[in-house]
């Protein structure tokens, strides 16, 4: 055994070796079983000199710990896989923000379907009752429609969507309103309605096709 190496080992055991030398010797100590055995005996000598009563100098703690450590996964892998400490709160916030964004998008995507399901358009109800199947009709008319109201005022939500105004309700409104108007104005109003119906293709399609698709005795059929 190299005497200089042993001298360094003794100094390292006392924590009296320069850092650079410590690094080199630590590497050798971890690989050289004989050197490590000598290191262990230095510890035994120290314990004997200190006369640590009750402590078994030949204790096999190191042996047992070493055997158990062998079964553990290497710490190096754990260290490299573990993210830096500062990254943890950032990652947590990012995950929370992601969950919130997904939730908002999901809820926004669900809202029209929920509305349609709760308040189906009258035409759709008519189709559904006629065909005894609500789902395809609802899917064919995706835009939300206002619920039937006793007054003839179109709800604000439906003002921007001409294509979804139920034609039967609109026709009822015009007919009912014409009963209280002068004949000239009534004719003007009816002609204006018909003109607007033909000009607005979406509404016209719905209003013209609707009654023909429905059976005559269907509840949603306009009379």
């Amino acid at each position: 055994m190299n005497e200089e190496l042993d001298s360094q080992l003794s100094a390292m055991f006392d924590d009296e070796l320069a850092q650079a030398e410590c690094e080199l010797l630590a590497r050798r100590l971890s690989r050289d079983v004989e050197l490590r055995a000598r290191w262990g005996r230095y510890a035994m000598i120290a314990a004997a000199i200190r006369a640590e009563h009750g402590v078994r100098l030949h204790a096999r703690v190191a042996e047992r710990v070493s055997a158990q450590v062998v079964s553990e996964s290497a710490l190096g892998a754990a260290v490299s896989a573990r993210p830096p400490r500062w990254w943890r709160p950032v990652a947590g916030a990012a995950v929370a923000a992601g969950v919130a964004a997904v939730s908002i998008l999901w809820l926004r995507g669900q809202a029209p379907l929920a509305d349609a399901g709760v308040q189906p358009p009258l035409a759709a109800v008519g189709h559904a009752r006629a065909a005894d199947s609500a789902a395809p009709v609802t899917a064919a008319l995706p835009a939300p429609a206002p619920a039937r109201s006793d007054s003839y005022v179109v709800p604000p939500a439906a003002r921007g969507a001409l294509a979804v105004v139920p034609p039967t309700e609109l026709a009822n409104y015009v007919v009912a309103h014409s009963l209280f108007t002068a004949p000239v104005a009534r004719g003007t109003l009816l002609s204006a309605f018909m003109t607007s119906e033909s000009a607005t293709t979406g509404t016209a399609v719905v209003s013209q096709d609707g009654p023909e698709d429905l059976p005559r005795d269907a509840p949603g059929h306009a009379r």
């Binding site: 410590c22 510890a43 000598i45 314990a47 004997a48 009563h53 100098l57 703690v61 710990v65």
Partner: protein
């Protein structure tokens, strides 16, 4: 030098996955840790079990060790907590301190009375101790003083140099030669069949 440099160099190696470096740390501190744990449990075998558990906990926690404190301070803290938990879980009270610690003979005898170790085990420990003591007695005065000041009093090389009025390099050499002389006697005893050499490594 000092300031836990040697421990830290080993710790860094363990953190990179070097298990042999952890073996070196365990070899260095196993006796001290058992001694510390024996303040909480009386039985040496139980103290060794707790020390073993503390070492394993330390090994698992080493990735989080950043070196803010000395390694042995950190390790001792783990050992104390492990010992306290063991005492609580096993519903045992800590060791009573009404023992006369100044009377080494009675203190050691009391410890032995409660020790579940076999007579052979006690003989082995006594044999190691008497071998080391005999080797120290046989050392030249300067070597003996240096190793005793270091191991018994815990002085640094610089403090020993001041006390012995010699350079630090001389202190280092004296301590190394003292250890080598004691180790030689120890190896002779073990190779003579008293104990198993693998127990030393």
């Amino acid at each position: 030098m000092g300031a836990d440099v040697s421990d830290l160099s080993l710790v860094r190696r363990v953190q990179r996955g070097d298990k042999g470096a952890f073996d070196a740390l365990v070899l260095k501190y196993q006796h001290k840790l058992v001694k510390l744990v024996m303040r909480y449990v009386r039985n040496p075998a139980e103290a060794e079990d707790i020390a073993q558990e503390a070492f394993i906990k330390a090994y698992r926690a080493l990735p989080q060790f950043r070196g803010d404190s000395a390694f042995y301070t950190w390790l001792y803290r783990i050992a104390i907590n492990t010992a306290k938990n063991a005492v609580v879980s096993r519903d045992r009270s800590p060791i009573e301190y009404n023992i006369d610690r100044n009377n080494e003979e009675s203190y050691e005898m009391q410890g032995r009375m409660k020790d579940s170790e076999t007579p052979e085990g006690l003989v082995l420990t006594d044999e190691i101790r008497s071998t080391v003591n005999a080797a120290i007695e046989a050392l030249p005065e300067d070597l003996r003083t240096a190793i005793v000041l270091r191991e018994l009093e815990g002085l640094s090389y610089e403090e020993i140099a001041a006390a012995m009025d010699c350079p630090v390099g001389t202190v280092r050499s004296r301590i190394f030669r003292a250890r080598e002389a004691i180790d030689r006697r120890l190896r002779e005893v073990f190779e003579g069949g008293l104990g198993r050499t693998e127990e030393l490594g």
